[in-house]
Amino acid sequence: MSFIEVKDLCKEYRIAKSEKGIAGAVKSLFHREYTVKEAVKNISFSLEKGEMVGYIGPNGAGKSTTIKMLSGVLLPTSGTAKVGDIIPYENRKENAKRIGVVFGQRSQLYWDLPISDTFDLYESLYSVPKERFRKNCDYFTELLDMKDFLHQPVRQLSLGQKMKANIAIALLHDPEVLYLDEPTIGLDVTSKKVLRDALKSINEEKKTTIILTTHDMDDIEAVCKRLIMIDRGQKLFDGTLRDFRETYNDGFTIKLEFDGALPPWQESSSYELLEEAEHHWLIKSGAETTAKAAMIELIERYNPVNLYVQEERIEDIVRRAYALDREAPEDA
């Protein structure tokens, strides 16, 4: 029995069709047509304690809906989810005590008060023992570098500062699971790095199970070993980052640089010319040849001054995986 167990989870929404123009709006007052949108379709996965998983998918794929069902806010249409021994949506309050949630576009902080006030609130809400609360406060203030703005009203803080505070309060009660829904949205490079490092240390030191949804593949590469990809409510991939690369691998790119004019391009089935500039080529090589073989062959054929091999970035792989899914018929 795994720690988090999700089985055939489905969530449907009824959406009222709105028609064009004022006339349409008036008409819809009397008669309204509904369409059913399946936000989450038959998703199953299981997670062990202490795992750190990236949950990715394009906008509207059903990521947040899944997280909301796991945190007990939304009730699934069918299927089950279990966190520990608790069914979250049936036992919302019990479940809430052992999870921490951060929604990147929402804040749990008191708008008019300093962060320390929200800290107090959470101390009481979760009945955190005083000693441990003190220790956690210090730990997260240090880890997320929050000392400077702990006593400023929240409305005067920057987005990054608020995000750090939201992550800290989600963790003050030492939850067993942490759900992060786009925690790096709108953050600058430095803040993102601080956050990723913090997440790694939290996972290592406190053995917190973390589910992270994001659109920033660098987050995933930096933090997660495992990846679950969904699109249009369905699961497309579940496995390690390495397997993900192999499954969707489509070769690598090679950049050849030349001193003078470019030599004539020889058409070949194993290479594709992606880009031609004044002094360089960008060449795509298929997955069937190794980088070594391709390098030797290209050097012999064209004699470049410099040669760079670049592995395909996760981001590009993901983009292709989404595209592949979109090409397939909806209910394949």
Partner: protein, 262 residues
């Protein structure tokens, strides 16, 4: 219990930030009080009508406005706002009952406003109060009991109707209905003392008169001790009935919930 206390405290503290808003509220409250007082002075003169004297009216206006202020930011509006922008999902993430959270939040938000609005008015009313008889100790105790029940009842009714926002998304109109019912059947504008028999009878069968009118009756000792149990029991029964109803509706609402915006 400690959880709810801290929600109350933090909500009060958030309110204290805006000092100018409080000042304007005081001004508004004083004006409203004066209007009502002069109106009743003109209507009643110096004699008692139907056994109601001017100083009775004064106390009536005072207590009524304090209790109404205490539920001024009403829960229905709070639920509606949380539904519109989706913050309801954040509130549900906390290990605390939603109803209890709303109640503490509402009281914290309003208590400051009620006090700032009432204390100046109370001082002002000392000029008008002459020959008023203060209630005896037992009546005061009963008044407090009945006032607490009244506020709970006010909260309960607004909460119950506010929950419809889970289906309708919007429920601002409910505020107007409630306000209207309170005015008519609760006697918050014109006391039920002056009502025709039919309306008076009708008001006994609805929860609204037990919110502010009955507590005031106790304070003014217009309800005899032997009869005091009637409005208190009625308020209590309404409270129990409405709690059961809102519990059922809450369960259906949680099932129905959709969260707006991502």
């Amino acid at each position: 219990m400690k959880k709810y206390w801290i929600v109350f405290k933090k909500s009060l503290k958030s309110e204290l930030i805006y000092r100018w808003a409080a000042l304007w509220r005081i001004l508004g409250a004083v004006l409203e009080f004066l209007i009502q007082i002069f109106l009743w002075r003109a209507l009643l003169g110096t004699e008692a009508h139907n056994g109601v004297s001017f100083s009775d009216m004064l106390l009536y206006v005072l207590i009524n406005s304090f209790m109404m202020q205490l539920t001024h930011t009403n829960v229905a509006g709070m639920i509606e706002n949380a539904m519109i922008d989706g913050t309801v999902s954040m509130e549900l993430l906390r290990p605390i009952s939603y109803k209890g959270y709303l109640l503490s939040q509402m009281l914290g938000k309003n208590i400051y406003g009620s006090l700032t609005a009432t204390v100046p008015v109370l001082l002002l009313s000392l000029f008008f109060l002459s020959g008023a008889v203060l209630p005896d100790f037992v009546h005061i105790l009963l008044f407090f009991l009945s006032a607490i029940l009244g506020i709970a009842l006010l909260f309960e009714v607004t909460y119950l109707f506010g929950l419809t926002a889970f289906w309708l998304q919007r429920c601002w109109f409910i505020r107007f209905y409630l306000y209207g019912f309170q005015n008519i059947f609760g006697g918050t504008l014109v006391p039920i003392w002056f009502y025709p028999e039919l309306l008076k009878t009708l008001s006994y069968w609805l929860p609204f008169r037990y919110m502010t009118f009955e507590p005031i009756n106790l304070f003014l000792m217009k309800t005899q001790l032997e009869q005091a149990w009637i409005p208190i029991l009625a308020a209590f029964l309404w409270l129990v009935g409405l709690s059961i109803a809102d519990n059922l509706i809450w369960r259906a609402a949680a099932r129905k919930l959709t969260v707006n915006g991502g």
